[in-house]
């Protein structure tokens, strides 16, 4: 992998990890469409992926650092007291409920599922599936808005839905469990969790925020647990580190953009993009 490919893949990972369009799907599909000759199964590619994840997780931690300080202290207080008394403690426990079962299932199923489906045609098909999930969630939301007679402006319509603090523990577990689907290359982690959040009654912006908070520990753990693999690796370090920095910067900009976008925006454009890329892959890649 040369320097510019590393920069390109860093930008791709940083943006597609948070946009609801599947980073893994892009990592499988684009090299096939662009006829690049590196393989993800190459041993030198794993340290690169680790660095990209660390870059993305760092960006999320920087953006939400105040939330994470509150969440960590809230978790510690509630854990020692054995009772939830404050909203920050409840948010911490909602994230635990949403993250841990999925992390456990993911650790067991990640390798078998990704090796089974990590080919461009499967990823193309799952990208179309991702589009169906996104558009399905928006159709359910629109139906709910129509039934409730909410024909006012988008930001007023969003006011009728809840914040993360209004989520039940069952709903948090279900939204978190949606992440299991994202083990399939082409299904977006942020996409399915935002879609799950919408179905659970969250505002778009709150669904995106909950999605990013759920993603942070998983992305960080995916990177940190594999740091030992970096030691002694003889790889193109300047290119890999530059790719990681680009991934972090792109993730930072993407997260800021998406939080602002989902104040009134919907998932529809991303559903259209995923459907188009998935279909293009199915047609072009044999």
């Amino acid at each position: 992998m040369n320097f510019w490919q590393a920069i390109f893949l860093g930008a791709l990972q940083g943006s597609t990890e948070l946009f609801p369009v599947s980073s893994l799907g892009h990592a499988v599909v684009l090299p096939a469409l662009l006829h690049w000759n590196y393989k993800e199964s190459d041993p030198t590619f794993l340290p690169f992926l680790v660095l990209l994840h660390l870059g993305t997780a760092s960006a999320l931690l920087i953006i939400f650092w105040e939330d994470w300080v509150t969440i960590a202290s809230g978790f510690a207080r509630a854990a020692f007291r054995g009772r939830i008394e404050r909203p920050d403690e409840r948010l911490a426990m909602l994230l635990v409920v949403g993250t841990v079962p999925t992390g456990a299932v993911g650790l067991v199923l990640q390798d078998p599922l990704q090796s089974l489906f990590a080919n461009p045609r499967a990823a193309g098909a799952f990208l179309v599936g991702n589009a169906v999930i996104l558009i399905g969630a928006e159709m359910l939301r629109r139906r709910d808005e129509r039934r409730s007679g909410r024909s006012e402006s988008r930001d007023l319509a969003e006011e009728h839905y809840t914040e993360i603090s209004g989520l039940s523990f069952k709903d948090a577990a279900l939204v978190g469990a949606c992440q299991i689907l994202a083990l399939l290359p082409g299904v977006s982690r942020s996409g399915v969790t935002i879609a799950g959040g919408l179905v659970a009654g969250l505002r778009h912006q709150e669904a995106a925020r909950f999605s990013f908070l759920l993603a942070t520990p998983i992305i960080a753990a995916a990177g940190l647990l594999k740091v030992p693999l970096l030691i002694g690796s003889s790889v193109n370090w300047p290119a890999y580190l530059a790719g990681a920095v680009v991934a972090g910067v792109t993730a930072f900009v993407s997260a800021k953009f998406l939080i602002r976008y989902f104040r009134v925006g919907r998932l529809d454009p991303y559903a259209g993009y995923c459907a188009a890329l998935g279909l293009l892959t199915l047609v072009l890649v044999r």
Partner: protein, 70 residues
């Protein structure tokens, strides 16, 4: 005896935490490797997850522990 209502659950969760710790040690030392893929001998990621589950079992035990009314 209402005061004892939650104790069986508490004991079960503490035992579960102990089981998780034992499994974590076995995974970390490479003694067992079921549910783990790849050619590595030591599965530190599985061990880490099991330690997290152990801590959460203890937290859950603290939550269901019968508390005084104060």
């Amino acid at each position: 005896m209402p005061v004892m209502k939650g104790w069986p659950t508490v004991i079960g969760l503490v035992l579960l935490a102990v089981v998780f710790v034992v499994l974590a040690v076995l995974y970390a030392t490479g003694t067992i490797s079921f549910l783990a893929s790849g050619g590595h001998k030591n599965h530190y990621s599985h061990a880490f997850l099991l330690i997290v589950l152990s801590v959460l079992s203890l937290v859950a035990a603290n939550f269901v522990r019968p508390k005084s009314a104060s």
